[in-house]
């Protein structure tokens, strides 16, 4: 499954330093990572660099990966849970090229997994690093536009505003209506944005064996959740946190406990639900699990892309 037949033009031409960033910049980012690991959930400002992809495309995640990657790493990159999403493909190619690194789609094989909007379904292990691309690191930004204010709120652990906002949800909708980017409390100290992952993925962060690193390039912040850290999704005693569930199961592999994407099949309302985690789905199918629409062209397309 590991692919090493990647273009290695950087190796011969060396127009740029290994893994693109210069060594001083990598050192600066590593220092920020260490600080972030030492203060779980705290947003560490860092001298984010301009990257060769636009802001919003994963510049924070790419800088984190560039700072920690080495030739022996095995790199996986997903977007919306899938390895074959255009931007994931593009970032994977970037590191294959500038870091001469082996790439994989296999969650268990990867040493570094860079992700946008999902945590893989498969449980991560010690030694793995999950790098999140973060558009807005500040969980309170929607409630308070000023950075000077939100920094003070974190310093004083003043999170009343956040709870009031959740309470307003309950009074307006009868429930906490947040669906993705659902705020979490890390080690009962720092309120943290889990990046726009669906709240379905929130429980996976708690007591995780892997290192979780979060990089926001445009906003110039790094934060982290070290292994075995307590991560609690905010809720109320009478309105406990709950994750999304589906009445359907995955049309291809039959999974009934995975996050599902809705695929619109025509313009008269026919749709199917499939695993958002493409590797998880493929692996289940390989193990013989069968969903109600097994053999659909969507699955064939994936098989071709994997070749």
């Amino acid at each position: 499954m590991i692919s090493t037949s990647t273009p290695r033009s950087n190796e011969t031409e060396r127009y740029y330093n290994y893994a693109y960033l210069d060594e001083q910049t990598k050192r600066m980012i590593r220092r920020a990572i260490l600080k972030a690991l030492a203060i779980p959930g705290y947003q560490v400002p860092f001298g984010s660099r301009e990257m060769p992809v636009p802001y919003g495309w994963g510049t924070g995640g790419i800088q984190l990966t560039a700072a920690i990657i080495g030739p022996d790493d095995v790199y996986k990159c997903i977007d919306q849970g899938a390895d074959d999403t255009t931007n994931a493909v593009s970032i994977r190619q970037f590191f294959a090229k500038v870091a001469d690194v082996a790439t994989t789609e296999d969650t268990a094989e990867a040493t570094i997994i860079q992700t946008r909007h999902r945590i893989p379904e498969q449980t991560l292990k010690a030694g793995q690093v999950l790098v999140f691309q973060v558009p807005q690191p500040e969980p309170l930004r929607g409630l308070e536009a000023r950075e000077t204010e939100t920094r003070a709120m974190h310093a004083y652990e003043e999170y009343g505003l956040q709870y009031v906002s959740l309470y307003e949800n309950v009074s307006a909708y009868g429930r906490i209506a947040a669906t993705a980017g659902y705020p979490v409390m890390v080690e009962e100290r720092y309120l943290m944005s889990p990046s726009p992952i669906p709240k379905f993925d929130n429980p996976k962060m708690d007591d995780n064996e892997a290192i979780l690193l979060f990089g926001a390039g445009r906003e110039k912040r790094i934060y982290a959740v070290p292994p075995h850290t307590q991560v609690r999704s905010l809720d109320f005693e009478d309105y406990p946190f709950e994750v999304q569930t589906w009445e359907e199961s995955c049309a291809l592999c039959g999974a009934d406990d995975a996050y599902l994407d809705e695929v619109v099949l025509d313009d008269v309302g026919t749709k199917m639900f499939v695993c958002s985690d493409s590797h998880h789905c493929g692996q289940r199918r390989a193990e013989g699990h069968v969903g109600p629409m097994a053999g659909h062209q969507l699955a064939q397309g994936e098989a071709e892309a994997a070749l």
């Binding site: 301009e50 802001y55 919306q80 000077t148 209506a177 599902l260 994407d261 025509d266 958002s276 892309a305």
Partner: protein, 369 residues
Amino acid sequence: MAYVSVKGGEKAITNAHSWLAEARRGDPRVPEIDVAQIREQMSLAVDRVMAEGSCYDPDLAALAIKQARGDLPEAIFLVRAYRTTLPRFGASEPVETEEMAVLRRISAAFKDIPGGQILGPTFDYTHRLLDFALAAEGASLPAAAALSETPQPYPMPTIGSVFAHEDLLERDERPEAEDAPFDLTREPMAFPAGRDQRLQALARGDEGFLLSLAYSSQRGWGSTHPLCGEIRFGDVTVEFVPEELGFPIEIGELSVTECQMLSGFSGSAERAPQYTRGYGLTFGHCERKAMSMAIVDRALRHREVGEQADAPVQDEEFVLYHSDNVEASGFVQHLKLPHYVDFQADLQLIRRLRREHFERNNPIKVAAE
């Protein structure tokens, strides 16, 4: 209509890139534009890319413009992504704009000022009528502009020097402690922002954004009643002190545009009434940008002069966080990336809320279904 989900992103990207290259080239029967032509004949585009790309290299900027198909923010992005990888061997001495070899220098404050008004190559008094002669092929070279009979003074006196003896204009104080200036390319934005940080952010900032902010200020949203004390455009020398020599040597020349905006200050208990300055400086010839920058700089100095601040242009977090077009363009356009995982989460919620809405308003019909 059947919908087939897009798979195989790798092939799609490669094909899109080939198509992009083809679109960039345009009709192959038309000769290809070369980088030197862009550098020489699209020089104001080159100047803007150097200024906002914060890298002084006309050839690189021209290449970026060619590669970006003339999309200047895209060209600026290309230059930024290149400059960020360059090693730093040191910081130059501050450039002395007082010693500029001036190509243009005007002041709106006085009819005539020492050194005179020098219009230079400006659009200001042209009639904006399309010159169809430029569309004709093989046009002859334009007639050379006449040389002045009297040499211009050097160094060209500044607006500051005109006011110096009366102390009517605040002095351009050089900071006592020569701390290294704040560097936004190495440190994240911090507040409250010092003037060094602010001026760097504005110098890199989007011309259009700063123009609109300056305009809003002029229309009364945080007015500073600006007067254009001086605009000068020309060449300055760059000096560098190599460690092994210990004295400055000249390493190159830059073309820059500098603007000094004057705003009245009616004084306070401690300070006598005086004119205050807003400052603008850009690489190349970017007058619109330098003037806008100077107005915004002055508007953001409201605390120093005790002005009430309630307009967008006076809010440093608002202005500085949103002035960079590489950041802004990226983040706005990242909405093109897939968001279907988040959308699925949202969709579920909306469907549930809708179902509850109809149950509340029409329980019998819902039960019947």
